[in-house]
Subunit: 470 residues, 2 copies
């Protein structure tokens, strides 16, 4: 967590003022310096205090992004690319001031190649809007981090979510990107070919680079056919361990679950309270199968047998869309449900990911640790990938609680590391996990820094994120 | 192709002689300067003339690799990492001389984590040896480029092959690596977690970097459960277009074929002749399904319906292992079968990959082009990915044939590019496709060069491959 690390850096006042002047002249009303607009562009769902940019600009196309980047580069002014503002680790803060480039107006679908199962989009489109657009084609974009994030933002944090166990993460589903580099050149990282061995994999380098290497102006995405049949279910277990063991066996047997999500007892209670549901308030798995009707049924049956072996209770199944939507809405609303557990408190998300053989142990130790520390920390997890979130409900104004939460998170990240896992499965580093990344990566940070220095010599692209340069 | 581009560069004689001296002292018989050993380390299946390293060294472990890299770095001497020598584009040549680091002795499986479906291996192990080792665990490593390549080499060229349509390529199946960087530091690019958002994706940067950024000393790989049921089949079609249209519909319908390979009529003839088989000598698809028995059967039936729609002939099915092995051996022996088509000729592999909607057109135009140019160029393709190989059978000693082949390949790469594809789906750039990469990537090469310069300031890691630095 390290909130104490989040300090403002030096500001290039002269450059900022010059760049804002030029941008104002060129972009008029699309350059906004109002306090509330600037606040909105740092802080939405993150627990990290905002550090405001000096202005927010709304380009309409790649050419304008290039123009804006060149102006900022000329004056050595920081650039913070902005999508939908749903990131969780202070990715959008401007510790050295600078210009927030909001891609909200760049939200078009440029092309759908139905035969090739791909499409080209601008970065500002949200995943929900994209899927609404695609509905008539019989195709969908599967990555679903819960929040209605922008595709550009999802690429930048290497997002994943509930479908990743079957469809992979953003790294697996971006075929190519166009990017404006820190020196204002437009590059295209790949083609529409499904695979390639054509030089360094810049697509994968930009995916997950959190805006520190350039501004994305378009993305070519893989799409999938909407499955013929989708079956979802909720299955209660008497312990987290039993639920996780059922997951491990499911994965080992190669059953291609599309989603397999764990909610612990506290989270199930929160979900019931929030959504007026009456699920058993024990640990539960939310599961989904995609396929032909026979296949989805066969897989569900196989999973039922596995669940029974680990004492799983009665399944609540749903195959019609309305029921399924209700079920997954309950899961997706976990964040809001958690906030209701302790009114007035703020939620701090954690994001460790470990090999699944260590997952039960990692969750149990984490629950025990939270109880001992007197912290309210319900758990949801993308357990098929070994990734889970403990959401800490704290009162930010109580320094003792803050210190206790910081210590808990440090222990959690260390626990994941000791189990050969990572401090972040899908949220990214931003400002909030920089210390954790140093612990995790050690000397491997040096090549990352060398790449950053080589591609962004003046450190204008989202400075202060992922790692410190000095 | 550009054989004329493959010229020797400047040699640092003093440094090379000093480094060889130190290495000889330390590694004794494991440092070899014999002519035939040096020749073996540049040229096996490639058409590109050899440029010999000055010595070949056989380290036993990562510590020795580090030591060797440091000695070479101290003397600014080139390093060429060597696996099994099955690369196709001059990846192993030493245009500036230097030391070939052969990882043959580093061929151990360091750990199998059965519950997590992963393993840790040294780079020198071949894919076949790995799968023999894994057999008792019920797991397998799916990437299969045909040749019995080393895992380190496969990572370095971002290899894929027949299974990629279902299991992905090396980029999807390497979770982490340890690498000795150009300055002799050991770094670890990731953890055993299935997914991560922990900083820049160095794993994916090193995968496909062809030894130009460091020497791999271990890899953590994803494994898969050996499917309960495997069904393979061969289906003849009356034209390449029909076969490809059947493939397009199969992919669009989301039928999870494990393999779907095209052989054109000339290649089927070559295969029959080589292996004494009697398949119809028309274009054919080789297909494989993995899953539960019911599922594999259901998929095979669905595919049968699709094939019939496009005039596919009678299937020849095989589900017992011996029959399947025979079928796939025929496919895998395509390279050798081709050589028999024109005794004494050499095969030059091509490797374009296009969006599948353009595949039929791309193959047909390529066949027509070859016929018009009087070139013998049978086709095999990993058609589920849009990737195919035209193997040119030429007499290297005939300058007219060489020129004709070079022109043909340039047209082929340009054709793929005009169809939004790439010049290389899986073989990599090496020396042979550097000009094609310039045409394909243009300004995107500049960030690649910047990364190379940042991570390897003295340009000692496999110099002269992928792109020129000046």
């Amino acid at each position: 967590m390290g909130l104490s690390d989040i300090v403002a850096g030096p500001r290039n006042e002269e450059g900022i003022s010059a760049a804002v002047g030029v941008l104002k002249q060129r972009y008029g009303d699309r350059l906004n310096t109002g306090q509330s607009m600037r606040e909105q562009h740092t802080h939405t769902t993150t627990y990290i205090p905002g550090q405001l940019p000096d202005a927010v600009v709304f380009p309409e196309n790649a050419g304008e992004v290039k123009d804006i980047v060149r102006i900022c580069a000329d004056h050595k002014v920081p650039i913070i690319p902005f999508g939908a503002g749903t990131s969780l680790e202070g990715h959008l803060n401007a510790p050295n001031g600078g210009i927030s480039i909001d891609t909200a107006h760049m939200n078009r679908v440029l092309k759908v190649n139905q035969e090739d199962l791909d499409c080209v989009v601008e970065p500002g489109i949200t995943r929900e809007d994209l899927n609404v657009y695609l509905r008539d084609t019989g195709l969908f974009f599967p990555i679903d981090p819960g929040a209605n994030a922008s595709i550009g933002g999802m690429a930048s944090t290497r997002a994943s979510g509930t479908n990743a166990v079957r469809y992979g993460t953003m790294k697996d589903n971006v075929l190519s990107m166009t990017v404006i580099t820190a020196v204002g050149n437009e590059i295209t990282t790949g083609t529409r070919a499904r695979k390639s061995s054509a030089g360094y994999d810049l697509t994968r380098l930009f995916v997950g680079s959190e805006g520190t290497l350039g501004v994305i102006t378009s993305l070519t995405l893989r799409l999938f056919g909407i499955p013929q049949s989708i079956t979802s279910g909720v299955c209660p277990f008497s312990s987290v361990d039993d639920a996780v063991n059922a997951v491990i066996m499911t994965i080992q047997m190669g059953i291609p679950v599309a989603r397999i999500e764990l909610l612990d007892a506290m989270m199930m209670k929160a979900t019931n309270d929030y959504a007026g549901l009456d699920y058993p308030e024990t640990p539960a798995l939310f599961i989904e199968f995609h396929g032909t009707e026979n296949y989805a049924a066969e897989q569900a049956e196989l999973f039922g047998e596995i669940a029974a072996e680990f004492g799983g209770g009665d399944f609540i199944w749903a195959s019609d869309q309305e029921e399924r939507n209700k079920l997954w809405k309950a899961r997706h609303d976990a964040y809001w449900a958690v906030l209701k557990l302790r009114p007035g408190a703020e939620a701090i998300a954690t994001d460790v990911c470990v090999p699944i053989s260590r997952l039960g142990e990692c969750i149990s130790e984490t629950q025990k640790d939270a109880a001992e520390a007197g912290l309210l920390a319900p758990v949801v997890g993308h357990v098929g990938d070994g990734n889970f979130h403990s959401s800490l409900m704290i009162n930010r104004n109580d320094p003792k609680e803050v210190a206790s939460a910081e210590a808990f998170i440090a222990r959690l990240n260390q626990r994941a590391l000791s189990m050969e896992g990572t401090c972040t499965g899908e949220h990214g580093i931003g400002q909030g996990k920089k210390t954790a990344l140093v612990n995790e990566m050690g000397g491997t940070l040096e090549p990352m820094r060398q790449i950053k220095r080589a591609l962004d010599p003046d450190n204008i692209m989202n400075p202060g994120k992922i790692f410190s340069l000095s």
